[in-house]
């Protein structure tokens, strides 16, 4: 992207700007916005509320205004930036190539550094981003507690008694990830051999929450990869990718995690580093943005990015060679935001789905509009998240497809909740889980 730079005399001075400290929205980035407004109708929050301030153009304008000192970095700014899903659908719509995701994350970092949130919020954010997600063992502990709640009678009682509804937690409860009985952590460090001739040697990115509640997805991923001639290594020392932290503006944590992950994946000299979570993949492919050019990690991050692949992207590229049984299924596909908008991958998952004999793919209107999951958005902005989910399920139901296929655990979680809340009776699975079924021949 050609850099637009201004002569020294015209740069925004520190005296004016409302941004303080490093990691701020860069003028060279926001100058690309020509305020044409083509992004508006693609932004989930604008479509919901019709407010300029909750549109990408409006959010960029607010960033500019804060930088120019015309708008304080205060409640209004924070609220509108918080309400952004960071789905980056606007990037797809934008003719001028504005890197909106980069801008809003920088804005969030500024907020994290310069804005004082209410105490409870600060505590929660601190706990989750600094003390929980970067620590697999602690995740395991919390998960076990959650599982206790879920599998013992507690949850059923809480639901049935109306207690949850009383506290306004009923829907939040449905959005809670279902914790698996057995976690994935023991698999870290293992190598899974390729079936037949080895075509590639890949590393699997295992993630954080996925390890406790999407174990089946990981297992399916490994099966599909090995069946297609890939040796799958799950490197030790890997941690949470840091996406949630980066999206929340807790950039220093994201940076720390990035360094660890770079060191965990780069040395292996893998043909590819694979993730089945579009949300993680997007961040992993942008690790270099976390480091300044003079930091050696920047170069290493670039190298890692070159190997980084979403599982659908990878399988589509090497071609599925394992025989696929016929599945008589009618499915629809939800484009995960961070795959379609973040990584610009739309056709690969569709080609994979269509490659399975007997599967009929029905397109969903607005399939690339966010389902409302958006990382922890369904926790921080539950109301909005559920509104978006409602609209999403309406379109999903219209397709008449009993199965919804997608490419991100976050989406799966949200859509499953949606199917339950709106009683559409649809199952939700990952592209790779669908392929896994085709390997076995289940119908």
């Amino acid at each position: 992207m050609p850099a637009i730079s201004a002569p020294e005399s015209m740069r925004v001075t520190d005296r004016q700007t409302g941004f303080r400290g490093p990691d701020r929205p860069e003028e060279t980035d926001y100058l690309h916005c020509i305020h044409c407004g083509l992004c508006l109708n693609h932004c989930p929050t604008y479509r919901l509320w019709g407010l300029e301030a909750d549109s990408p153009r409006g959010r960029i304008r607010q960033i500019v205004l804060v930088d120019e000192g015309r708008l304080p970095l205060g409640d209004s700014f924070v609220r509108h930036i918080d309400q952004c899903l960071d789905c980056r659908a606007c990037e797809t719509a934008c003719p001028a190539g504005v890197e909106y995701g980069k801008l809003v994350e920088a804005a969030r970092t500024q907020i994290e550094q310069n804005y004082r949130r209410p105490l409870s919020s600060r505590i929660a954010r601190n706990v989750v981003y600094r003390h929980l997600l970067p620590h697999p063992r602690r995740i395991a502990v919390v998960a076990r507690l959650a599982r206790l709640y879920q599998s013992s009678g507690l949850r059923t009682v809480a639901r049935a008694s109306g207690l949850l509804r009383l506290f306004g937690l009923a829907d939040r409860d449905k959005l809670m990830p279902q914790i698996d009985k057995i976690f994935f952590f023991p698999q870290v460090g293992k190598t899974f051999p390729a079936a037949g001739k080895r075509r590639a040697r890949v590393a699997l990115f295992a993630g954080c929450i996925s390890q406790v509640s999407f174990v089946a997805l990981h297992e399916a991923t490994i099966r599909v990869l090995t069946a297609n001639g890939c040796e799958v290594v799950v490197p030790e020392g890997q941690l949470c990718c840091g996406a949630l932290a980066a999206h929340a503006g807790v950039r220093d944590v994201a940076r720390k995690l990035a360094r660890v992950n770079i060191d965990a994946f780069l040395p292996g000299d893998f043909d590819a580093v694979i993730t089945n979570a579009a949300g993680c993949g997007s961040t992993l492919k942008e690790y270099d943005q976390l480091f300044s050019k003079d930091d050696p990690a920047h170069e290493k991050a670039s190298q890692l990015q070159q190997r980084m692949r979403d599982v659908t992207e990878f399988l589509d590229a090497i071609g599925v060679t394992a025989p696929l049984q016929e599945l008589r299924m009618r499915v629809t596909y939800q484009d995960s935001c961070h795959l379609a908008h973040g990584q610009k991958i739309r056709e690969a998952p569709r080609r994979l789905i269509r490659a399975i004999p007997g599967v009929e793919l029905v397109e969903m209107p607005w399939s690339d509009n966010c389902c409302g999951s958006a990382g922890v958005y369904n926790v921080t902005q539950t109301q909005t998240s559920l509104e978006l989910l409602g609209e999403k399920m309406r379109y999903a139901r219209q397709t008449g497809a009993p199965s919804i296929v997608t490419s991100n655990p976050g989406c799966m979680l949200q859509l499953r909740a949606g199917a339950e809340i709106h009683k559409t009776g649809q199952e939700v699975l990952h592209v790779v889980e669908l392929l896994d079924r085709a390997l076995k021949g289940n119908s």
Binding site: M1, P2, I4, A6, M10, L31, H32, C33, I34, H35, C36, G37, L38, C39, L40, N41, H42, Y46, G50, L51, E52, A53, G58, R61, Q62, L65, R70, L71, P72, G74, S76, F77, A93, C94, P95, A96, G97, P365
Partner: protein, 460 residues
């Protein structure tokens, strides 16, 4: 409703280079709200401005004199689709492309396709009488809207036109369409839908000379063909676009013609062949046909996102909207080059070759006030040039607050006075969208412009 300063800042702008500060923004959900708001505004003597998605390019949605901005983003429902009679009744906030998507299943669509159709609203299209590449064959918005419901500046609700093609009496619908929100607020639109044609051919003809391209356009018409769209991009713009879109635009040509013919299969095949023949006869280096929908979409993406692509290489640009007789393109472009040199600014060109509507893109850096002024001056020079060539100030974007002071270049004082009176018939106190279309007050030095003689030697 929004009235805090932080909120109001977000409504100072639209898609143009204009800015002004409103006093309050309101979001009516229904026609009744609009009536109440208008009545309230009257009581407090506040100006009223309608706003759709704010993608306009002449400052139409900008509250030049402050006041109340009515944002119609929440009146965005398609009220009715009558597929048998090919009619849709919509609220003003419905997005243009969404309307076409919604009626796709009946094999219908809404023909006016401005480049901003992903976000722009039908209400905005009505106010500006929007065009788009495909209006060459099908006509601008006024050919596709048969009736309106209006809220007058005094709060009265009036219906003009209707569902049928013709209503006896003065064509008030035709008058209100294109009145840029200065006559009444539109709360309901009866839109005419067309049938999606059976087939389409998209062609890209590449030239080493602009003149050859223009000559081709004229000859195509001489063969009895009215293309559904006929767009021209100059070499500079092509390079800017190609680096982003990768539509296969050539990087070393003087101009390309992007054309489309639609209709019955036999028609498009015959017409496409004819077009290729004509282009070759006029020394087109190459004529490509889009082989499938994907290629077609890519070519159009290149055209529709050209403005934005320019945004990648410049902090700001000023897009103009003059019209000239299409045979005057070559001399006009030469003069534009002179203007570009004179004001030391880069100017790219996108041209609706079929109807002579020119979009010069003047690049500048808005952070430098001097560049901004030069850009404006260059813009004015180009608009004057268009009129000199026998053309007009604006083909699609409207006059708004961007060109209102230039109206005297095209219209005499008597003409403008008549327009003022017509506006007053709707908007007696001038409360609705003040400061748009017509020049502000007499006595201002800038407005003492005389209508320019046209090249035909007659007064325009």
């Amino acid at each position: 409703m929004l009235s805090k300063p932080d909120d109001l800042l977000l409504y100072e702008y639209d898609g143009s280079v204009e800015q002004a500060h409103p006093d309050v923004i309101v979001f009516p959900g229904r026609k009744e709200h609009v009536v109440e708001i208008v009545k309230l505004a009257n009581r407090y003597e506040l100006p009223i401005v309608g706003r759709g998605a704010g993608t306009g390019l002449s400052g139409g949605a900008i509250a030049r004199a402050g006041g109340v901005v009515l944002a119609f983003s929440r009146m965005n429902h398609i009220l009715e689709v009558d597929s048998e009679n090919q009619i849709a009744v919509v609220e003003p906030g419905v997005v243009n492309l969404d309307l076409s998507r919604a009626v796709e299943k009946y094999g219908l669509y809404f023909a006016p396709d401005p480049s901003s159709q992903k976000s722009c609203t039908i209400g905005g299209n009505v106010s500006e009488n929007s065009g788009g590449p495909h209006t060459l064959a099908y006509g601008v918005t006024s050919s596709h809207v048969t009736g309106l419901e209006l809220v007058m500046p005094d709060g009265k609700v009036v219906r003009v036109g209707g569902r049928t093609a013709e209503v006896p009496g003065y064509d008030l619908t035709g008058l209100v369409i294109g009145s840029e929100g200065t006559f009444a607020l539109v709360t309901e639109i009866i839109a005419k839908l067309l049938r999606v044609p059976e087939d389409v051919r998209t062609l890209l003809a590449i030239y080493d000379s602009l003149e050859d391209a223009t000559d081709s356009v004229v000859d195509i018409t001489a063969r009895g063909i009215i293309p559904a769209a006929c767009e021209m991009l100059d070499g500079w713009t092509l390079r800017a676009v190609e680096s982003y879109v990768h539509a296969g635009f050539p990087l070393d040509s003087a101009a390309v013609l992007l054309m489309e013919v639609e209709g019955v299969r036999e028609t498009v095949e015959a017409e496409a062949s004819d077009i290729v023949e004509v282009c070759r006869a006029h020394r087109a280096r190459e004529v490509r046909r889009a082989r499938d929908n994907r290629e077609r979409a890519l070519l159009w993406k290149g055209r529709k996102e050209a403005f934005g692509a320019v945004g990648r290489v410049s902090p700001s640009y000023y897009v103009l909207d003059g019209v000239i007789p299409r045979t005057k393109l070559t001399p006009t472009l030469l003069r534009i080059e002179e203007i570009s040199t004179k004001y030391a600014l880069v100017i790219g060109n996108i041209f609706h070759a079929g109807d002579g509507n020119l979009h010069p893109l003047i690049l500048f850096d808005h952070r430098d006030p001097d560049q901004f002024h030069r850009a404006r001056a260059a813009g004015t020079a180009i608009m004057q040039l268009c009129i000199e060539m026998g053309g007009t100030l604006t083909g699609e974007h409207g006059v708004g607050m961007e060109k209102n002071e230039l109206m005297p270049l095209m219209f005499t004082e008597a003409d403008l006075e008549l327009m003022r009176k017509v506006r007053a018939a709707f908007n007696p106190v001038g409360r609705l969208n003040p400061g748009k279309v017509l020049p502000l007050g007499k006595g201002c030095g800038e407005t003492r412009l005389q209508p320019l003689p046209t090249s035909v030697g007659e007064r325009p």
